[in-house]
């Protein structure tokens, strides 16, 4: 008779590990399954870890966790082919406790986080792929794995297996993605001397900076790029909706090469040695693409539940919070010995009441909107660059004349009206 | 331990197919240089049954004297029997340096002897030198998967021992008529003292392409793309009458058997011509072929490291270049019929 657990969590990313951690802390007998050689070995993220949601689980984690750099400056670059308009905020309050957020490398961070869960009693099993949920009488009672004698049983199974959750699909919670519901991100980790990083990004020792790239970083395709500073590496990546890649017939690594050689980016990454090349999907369908998140004996958390805020490139924090809320629900269900769908539906409630649900709802139309109206990326960013260039180029033209020229260049009144309308629309989906 | 008692450079002479194994002759070549530098004698140690005559070969390749243990008990290599003889010989005649081929026999024997003496033993050496004044052996070898070279010393014990990879040292040209002293030795060893018995020896029946003996080797790597692509390597090899070599990745992919693998964990080869086709030139591969006479590399990546280690390089697609080469060689060597005949 195979051993039975209280809970099985599939996937040791931020969502699954957060869930296992909380369960183990409450004395629940929990098994955490991971297909990689170790947690994080296959995981991809540009690398901004938000402090608050992690603190909710492990207070003061940054004193011990393998974080790269606390972020003191966030820049936003609106790029054209040979120019960029940049906004930035830098604040010294972010350079000290309690900090705002950090860059991390997932291969290190996930491993550390999982180890913390193990120390509390989680049984972590790596190099094992969960194949599907074992369903008896309409109730999930365990998972089958690719190992000999590999079936595992539990009162409840938590699906934290990431964006392409095969397990949620096999339960029918999920459909196959439409190409406009997922982004494909590719990134490179580039090795560069600590000191050089600090000089190039204008940082003091140990501090970090993030740069978000819009516009020509993705050749106008809906998506963003990023350049983050780690201890002695840089993370450079681009992510675009799959539909955009298909439409523009461009390969993701070509886009990455393009950004790397972009005149606005090249000076930052010059001489850095590629260390790792990674690619991953990001669920960007938002609220409307969320699957069913609770069933009989089963919960879905993190990317598997499509919990990503694409506009603010947040994911790991939503993942952790959802994992934590799932754990709370399971602990309550365990007390009553009731793992039915009705009992577990408390998780969906908690989720929707938390910032996760709130944000998912708030931006429910955002990605879709920008996908439907490509002019934001294709036209307005270049326009902004031309305007800035014109205003700032000192060539003897009076400033009033320059403003007029810029105004004229935008086009006839109809065009101006369209822009005004788009700005209003964008404000509406983002508000 | 008085170091002054230990004099001379010794080589364990391994018997193979009724003669002295090539690696032992190579070691006599290397040992000769060490002995000359130390102004001392070069000796061989021969253990076996009916092998005394082989001492003559050792003299012709540079040995000054050979200690011989000739007894039926040594008919087959057995660790315990050979080790007893070697230990006795070392204790009696006290060499400063003792070298073994890094073959399965040489490594087995050396490990056992080192533990009993005890003394230090450096494995798989690829470079040897000696400090003229102190006699300190500088034994260098690749370490950590060939990523670095390390020089290893044994300062506190004598003799200093090393096993040496076949095919990296050079045997001296044979000098017919050169002679030396045979010193017959024996120890009281009975069959009952030896706890192992060789029941049977099975030689590989199919005569394989011995890549370590071939004059020309055509080697293929992952760049051939598939087992079908790798077929080009076989065809070119047939055309040239060459043996087929391969990188480890190809062997691991199962395109060809392990005995074709060239490199650190495969065979070291020194053919007159070595073709490296679709092979990137990882250090572990290079150490196995870099002493070849003429190295020709074909690779579509101009930055492939193999081009740093070749004599002639072609940047191009193997699928395009190799068929042209096959055709060129076929017409130049007039082998077309033969190859076709071979295929039928």
């Amino acid at each position: 008779m195979p051993e039975k657990f209280d809970a099985i969590v599939v996937g040791a990313g931020p969502a699954g590990t957060a869930c296992a951690y909380e369960l183990a802390k409450a004395g629940v007998k929990v098994l955490l399954l991971e297909r990689g050689e170790y947690p994080g070995s296959k995981n991809v993220m540009g690398g901004v870890l938000y402090r608050q949601m992690m603190e909710d689980i492990i207070p003061d984690f940054h004193k011990e966790a393998p974080i790269e750099r606390p972020i003191v400056e966030q820049r936003f670059m609106m790029m054209d082919k040979t120019s960029a308009v940049t906004f930035s905020y830098k604040g010294m309050e972010w350079a000290q406790e309690p900090y705002n957020n950090f860059t991390v490398l997932r291969a290190k961070f996930d491993q550390w986080f999982a180890q913390k869960a193990v120390e509390l009693g989680t049984l972590l099993i790596c190099e094992t792929v969960a194949l599907e949920c074992i369903v008896q009488n309409g109730k999930v009672v365990g998972v089958s794995t690719d190992r000999p004698d590999g079936d595992l049983y539990a009162d409840v199974v938590v699906l934290a297996d990431g964006v392409n959750s095969l397990l949620a699909k096999s339960l029918g919670f999920h459909k196959e993605f439409r190409p406009d519901e997922v982004a494909l991100a590719t990134m490179e980790i580039l090795k560069l001397d600590k000191k050089i990083i600090e000089d190039r990004f204008n940082l003091e020792e140990g501090q970090g900076c993030t740069i978000e790239l819009f516009g020509d970083a993705t050749k106008g395709i809906l998506g963003t790029g990023f350049l983050y500073t780690n201890k002695d590496t840089l993370s450079l990546g681009v992510g675009t909706l799959l539909s955009g890649l298909i439409k523009h017939k461009i390969k993701p690594y070509e886009l990455l090469e393009y950004v790397k050689n972009h005149p606005m980016i090249r000076p930052y990454v010059q001489g850095a040695e590629p260390q790792e090349y990674l690619a991953h999907l990001i669920p960007e369908g938002g609220y409307r693409s969320m699957p069913k998140v609770a069933g009989d004996g089963v919960l879905v958390v993190g990317d598997a539940a499509q919990l990503v805020n694409a506009i603010h490139r947040e994911g790991s924090n939503l993942a952790m919070t959802s994992g934590r809320l799932a754990a709370e629900t399971i602990i309550a269900a365990r007390e009553r010995g009731d793992y039915s769908e009705q009992a577990l539906d408390a998780y969906r409630q908690k989720l929707m009441d938390s910032f996760v649900g709130q944000d998912m709802k708030k931006y429910k139309d955002a990605t879709h909107h920008f996908d439907k109206f490509p002019q934001y990326f294709e036209q307005y960013i270049p326009m902004m660059n031309r305007a800035a260039s014109k205003m700032l180029t000192v060539d003897g033209t009076p400033k009033r004349e320059k403003q007029k020229q810029i105004w004229r260049e935008i086009g006839p009144a109809k065009e101006k009206f369209k822009i005004a309308r788009d700005v209003y629309r964008a404000w509406k989906v983002m508000k | 331990m008085n170091f002054d008692d230990y004099r001379g450079v010794w080589v364990f002479l391994e018997e193979k197919d009724g003669g002295i194994a090539p690696v032992s002759l190579e070691l006599l070549g290397a040992g000769r240089q060490l002995a000359d530098k130390r102004k001392t004698l070069l000796s061989g140690v021969l253990i076996g049954e009916g092998i005394t005559d082989l001492a003559e070969t050792a003299f012709e390749y540079g040995a000054d004297q050979v200690f011989v243990y000739d007894d039926p008990i040594y008919r087959h290599y057995r660790t315990e029997a050979f080790m007893r003889a070697m230990l006795a010989c070392v204790e009696k005649h006290k060499p400063e340096i003792l070298l073994y081929g890094a073959t399965s026999t040489g490594k087995d024997l050396a490990s056992a002897v080192a533990t009993d003496l005890p003394t230090g033993l450096t494995a798989d050496t690829t470079q040897l030198d000696v400090e003229q004044d102190t006699g300190l052996l500088l034994a260098s070898r690749p370490a950590f998967g060939g990523n670095i070279m390390a020089t290893i010393l044994c300062k506190k014990y004598r003799p200093q021992m090393a096993t040496v990879r076949p095919k990296v040292m050079k045997a001296l040209p044979r000098e017919p008529g050169r002679t030396g002293t045979i010193i017959a030795e024996s120890i009281p060893l009975k069959e009952t003292d030896v706890r192992t018995k060789v029941l049977e020896i099975v030689r590989a029946t199919t005569r394989r392409v011995r890549i370590d003996e071939a004059d020309i080797i055509v080697s293929g790597g992952k760049g051939l793309g598939s087992p079908q692509g790798f077929q080009l390597i076989h065809t070119l090899a047939e055309t040239l009458g060459a043996a087929v070599g391969a990188s480890r990745d190809v062997v691991e992919a199962g395109w060809i058997g392990h005995h074709h693998q060239v490199g650190q964990t495969g065979v070291t080869v020194t053919p007159k011509i070595y073709f490296a086709i679709g092979i990137s030139g990882a250090i572990q591969h290079l150490v196995g072929m870099q002493n070849s006479g003429l190295i020709i590399a074909i690779n579509k990546d101009p930055k492939a490291p193999i081009f740093q280690s070749c004599h002639y390089g072609i940047v191009g697609d193997a699928m395009e270049i190799v068929p042209m080469l096959i055709e060129g060689f076929q017409s130049a060597l007039g082998r077309k019929e033969e190859v076709n005949a071979g295929k039928v």
Binding site: - | G120, F144, M149, V198, I216, Y312, G316, E320, G328
Partner: protein, 276 residues
Amino acid sequence: MLHIVACIKQVPDTKIIKMNPKTNTMDRSSAPAILNPYDSHAVEEAVRLRARYGGVVSVLTMGPPPAVKAIKKCIEIGADDGYMITDRAFAGADTLATSYALTKAIEKIAAIRPIDLIICGKMTIDGDTGQVGPGIARRLDIPPLTSVKKVAEVNKEEGYVIVHRKLEDGYEVIRSTLPCLFSVEKEINEVPYSSMPNVLRAARYQPHIWSVNDLPDIDRTQLGLKGSPTIVSSVWAPAKPQGGTMLEGPPPQQVQQLLDVVLQRKELFESRGGAS
């Protein structure tokens, strides 16, 4: 009932190791630590012999504390028990000092349960010598059998084993008294994907951990760096070759140039028959 001890080591995965080109040192953090691949075959063979003859499989390692992971891997393969000796005093050991420390641990394990057979891997991918196995055998005064590629028979009652030892051009069938020590080739078996029950057991398993003080009658002068006759005096990057002549021009022209070069050595082709 056999008691088989497999000696195993955790090693950096030299396949992925990165070098610091400036200092010529290894970036150890870049190489994940794995169970020495050859040793997994040693453990697997022990597990197979247990299935054939019954008994207990123990594994033994000397290494730093994280090497517990390598022991767990062996439990996944199917070992029953794991022993680890770990102590600063062992650090810097060469093969002679390693075989001494391991022998002392084996003696202690044997006092708990007498040992019939010791199995080692052919070699480690970091030490890369294959000397430790025979070293242990000599110290225990049992026969070392290296290059074992098949175990034909183990007969505890009559006290012998019959194995096939790989030779350069074939193999020999050899009979030895028991107890003895094998160093096994990779081809001796294939290590299957471990079963879930073994993996669960491994995840929970805690090995026996001993320090120097736990080993009786140990001579500290024979341990670690102090007890090692060989020392690494210098380390350098293998010489970078300079590169050869790159042939230029369109492909047919390159091929023609190459043919000219090679055919200058026509004697090579004439000295041999057809395809070999």
